[in-house]
Assembly symmetry: C2
Homo-oligomer: 607 residues x 2
């Protein structure tokens, strides 16, 4: 408990929740880190598809990046309508469930959940790649470093979202600043011819004799779509904004989209003009920065802030995932305990689950960004599509003011993201997207299973509407089994005697001499309570007691049997090995008997 | 439970215990398997010390074997006095504790315990070696085979000792028979010159130019002493004999010693005359048998029965170890649950512990007999010595009839085994005996620690001799926390109302709307029981309840607070993940409060 308090801080009152909300400046830092950070790997992923086919295809990265930025613009416009319509947050899950029904809603929820876990894993892997690019000796330790980074973010998040905002503001703005500076310096150098390409067998000199396949371009586009992951995080987190929350959220989203577009296009252009090729042990961004800044302070600043924003991008998932889990829990699709705010006003259970699964991914995929990427975009785009389709359906049935315009905007978004989803699922299927396509129905089945179980339990425990009580036992009999006469037994006896009613001490006769001694002690200490001595032909104390209890239950169908067990509670946990083994066995065998109630009366040892 | 019954059979009554006792014929099979089986490896262990030094030293194996057989005769004579004096069994532990005091007693107990575990591990390893000698392709699987063999013996023993006797009679007598047959045939062939040595660079032709060191001979002697392990098993198991138990036990022991002496000397002689050298993948006994019998049915019969008697030798340890553990538990040196007979009249806990530790040894030492041997004899001979010294002390203080003669017999035994212990400990120290020499004090500390704990607990819970009760609370208050109104809560309420006294329903106000609804439902279903609504500034239901309980405890020092928790018990274990998380948390935080008694009222779901 003390450790927990030191790690996560003192508990906060519900009334403090409003103060925990974010200004636009802080919100940009918290929520934009996810989408912005993807510029660190999106260009590289495009090149990784194009270059192995032919060096001459590198120039296709520019038009592909432009298409992706157009898609970003459409998405931003589409999502701003969602934010205004759903200020309560929830994004794709809420929108599809409300407008399309349970199954599409759960599909969106499953996609989003996978998406959040992938965001943490991919961001942390890419962040560690940024560091190992700058400091190559760290390369072999990337998996361990990744896990440590996740644990760090997890702890920060368990402390609560406001403090997270503070922690993340500096690196996010540092990243944006140093990136813009790099692009500005790079453009200046390009214009005045001071920049020498990294690769000398210049891409420009090769003639494009090979013809490019459509499939290859679509695959490159799919890889580049990872730049758009995280755009929806804002729509899930509207409630974290200061009022007027929807307006502030939309402004923040537009700002974010604008910065994202500039950085992504800029890096793609620079990488092309510098003739940068993807390498195993150095990221494309690192190569570009090294060419522009040289190996100076600015280079390390950029790499450092890239690492920070990536590791912290994981944070947006830590803000979104528990909120989604809590919503699912409230609707009965996840265990109830996910629903509640922890004592630091955060959804602690969800945070911990997210941390565990993303660590697992990092370990399984050995901290390799490129191996993780194919699993990433499918879920994201599926949830985009479902949300937009849901909105179209909504405007259609509502037909409020400007409904045609609204349908057009979300319709364009739905078609564009739908096509992108199909492209990503088909071109990335063999590279890992199949895992996600299998996982989504499994998660949906899990949600459904949990839902059905809770519904059945509610049915089974429901009170009769007419107010009639089920037939119930009325009498009560307390029995105290013991095999030794000591203060623990006397204490149990005292407890039993604190309410009027029948009490019996029960002793199993294993050894006649011991039994005689105990009978004498009971006469002295038993306060006149009746003593029953049970024969034990099989030497098993537990089975003799069990038989006795079953006999009472048979004979007296109207009686509760309360078994009061005197239990010695040692001062140190390991001492439990030396005590209460029989009590444990007795409790295990009585647990499933109807009308039997088990009560431990602990006797606390002090030494 | 059904599985358990099928594996170990139906429970037996205490009165059936007498019928579970063994005739001499069966007892020889059960107890002699341990000492007799050691002839399978003892000769080989002697040769393994002598041969690597020089082939010419092989002939020393004969005099060393003779010395060991003399030691056997002394031990048998010594132990027969112990059996008559201590018909209750217990051997070294009982004898040294009664005559020398607690520390020597615990030393003997620790040595015996290690000895039992080693017996299982060494016997099984050697048994598997007998099989892999006959069927070489099995050699790589020896560790797995060893573990399987131990599990088999463990199950047989959990069924009870009488059936064990039956299972073991056939292989033991088959082993004795085929060994004697082999020695007879071998002697005949030797006398009539039909036997060709296995090794052609005959040992006899080499001149003994190297001088042998005393240390080498002592090391060879130490290795050979493994032939005597198990002789004491009989003295621990006197109670398993049919009356007159001591007489029958002594007769059985003398028979066993006689057979052991013949077999051991016979194999040593044969091995020498055949010029057999120890090999990695074939045992010495297998080489001797192959030379005498050829590769026929008799050879496989001998190897098979050797394997069986070795694996079954482990059984004597399974009979002895739990008995010793039970005696230690009765004296408070082991956890109390070790004391009791299981429902098949065997000490199930001890049997399982022995199985686990010996499997561990097999796995750690990779099923290699030679690696295990140096750990074996130290403990055995230490307990021999302590028992003999204890007997000398006993005769000295008693001075009964023939006390001088009795002192002489046990005195000779004590001196001989004492010297042997010193030799073994010093010559084998570096090869593994140090592990045992470290383990013995650790075990003693463990015994003492457990003893002290039980003593402290007994002091702390002891009843006052003058019969005055400690001051005790007299009032009783039942509280029923709930957060939902359903049949489980109604059931808890019914239970609480089955005894007169104050009851309060307790509700934590997390959400005002829900609270209002629950208050209305309570009014309808609460049977007029008072309802307390607690504020919850920190949204933590558990901490609000905790505060409330603490307040009552403070205000009313004379009151027991019974917390009745309505708990939903699902039909399937995994459904527990979806329920009662909060109840668990509540119980954990209330467990260590004095005067708070926790009572679960389970509501059993059927679907």
């Amino acid at each position: 408990m003390v450790l927990k308090r030191w790690l996560v801080g003192p508990p906060l009152k519900t009334a403090q929740a409003a103060h925990q909300r974010l200004s636009k400046r802080l919100a940009l830092a918290v929520f934009a880190s996810d989408p912005l950070s993807s510029v660190a790997y999106a260009t590289e992923e495009i090149l990784l598809v194009l270059i192995p086919a032919s060096l001459a295809f590198a120039h296709f990265s520019i038009p592909i990046s432009v298409v992706i930025v157009l898609l970003l613009a459409m998405l931003t416009r589409s999502y701003s309508q969602i934010i205004f319509e759903y200020p309560g947050g929830g994004g794709a899950y809420i929108v599809s469930k409300a407008n399309l029904g349970e199954w599409p809603g759960l599909t969106a929820a499953a996609s989003l959940m996978i998406d959040y876990v992938m965001t943490v894993a991919v961001s942390v892997a890419a962040g560690i790649a940024a560091i190992t690019s700058a400091i190559p000796p760290l390369f072999p330790y990337r998996t361990v470093l990744g896990v440590c980074a996740i644990v760090l973010v997890l702890l920060v998040n368990l402390r609560g979202v406001r403090e997270s905002g503070k922690v993340f503001a500096v690196p996010t703005y540092m990243f944006i600043g140093s990136m813009l500076l790099m692009l500005a310096v790079g453009t200046f150098q390009l214009l005045f011819g001071q920049l020498t390409p990294v690769v000398f067998q210049s891409v420009a000199t090769q003639t494009a004799v090979e013809s490019v396949s459509v499939f290859l371009l679509l695959r490159a586009f799919s890889s580049g779509c990872t730049a758009l992951t995280g755009v929806e995080v804002l729509s899930n987190g509207v409630t974290a904004f200061r009022p007027p929350a929807p307006k502030n959220a939309v402004i923040t989203m537009v700002m974010m989209a604008f910065i994202l577009g500039i950085l992504f296009l800029g890096i793609s252009t620079m990488a092309y003009h510098l003739g940068v090729l993807p390498k195993d042990d150095e990221t494309v961004v690192s190569q570009v920065a090294r060419a522009i800044f040289g190996e100076g302070v600015l280079y390390y600043l950029l790499q450092g802030s890239t690492m920070l924003i990536l590791v912290l991008a994981a944070n947006s998932a830590f803000a979104g995932f528990p909120r989604l889990a809590s919503m699912l829990a409230r609707d009965g699709y996840m265990p109830h305990q996910m629903e509640h705010l922890g004592d630091r006003l955060v959804f602690s259970n969800g945070i911990i689950i997210l941390g565990v699964f993303s660590c697992l991914l990092i370990v399984v995929f050995d901290g390799d960004t490129h191996a993780l990427i194919p699993l990433y975009a499918v879920g994201v785009f599926l949830s985009f599509t479902l949300a937009q389709v849901g909105m179209v359906r909504r405007w259609l049935s509502e037909r409020g003011p400007h409904w045609r315009k609204k349908i057009f905007i979300n319709g364009v978004g739905a078609v564009a993201t739908g096509i992108a989803t199909a492209i990503i699922a088909s071109t990335k299927f063999m590279h890992g997207a199949w895992i996600v396509i299998i996982l989504i129905p499994i998660l949906i089945m899990l949600f459904r299973g949990i839902h059905m179980h809770y519904k059945e339990v509610a049915d089974e425990t429901a009170l009769d509407r007419r107010g009639s009580r089920p037939p119930k036992p009325r009498r009560s009999l307390v029995i105290i089994p013991f095999s030794e006469m000591n203060l623990a037994v006397v204490r149990a006896l005292d407890f039993a005697r604190s309410r009027p009613g029948e009490i019996r001490g029960v002793l199993v006769d294993v050894d006649p001499r011991t039994t005689a001694g105990l009978e004498m002690q009971w006469a002295q200490w038993g306060c006149g309570v009746n003593l029953v001595v049970l024969p034990s032909p099989y030497r098993s104390i537990v089975s003799s007691l069990l038989e006795y209890v079953e006999e009472i239950l048979d004979k007296e169908p109207d009686t509760w049997v309360t078994v009061v067990i005197p239990e010695i509670l040692p001062a140190h946990w390991w001492q439990n090995l030396l005590h209460n083994q029989r009590a444990l066995l007795l409790k295990a065998s009585l647990l499933f008997k109807d009308r039997v109630i088990l009560t431990d009366v602990p006797f606390h040892l002090t030494r």
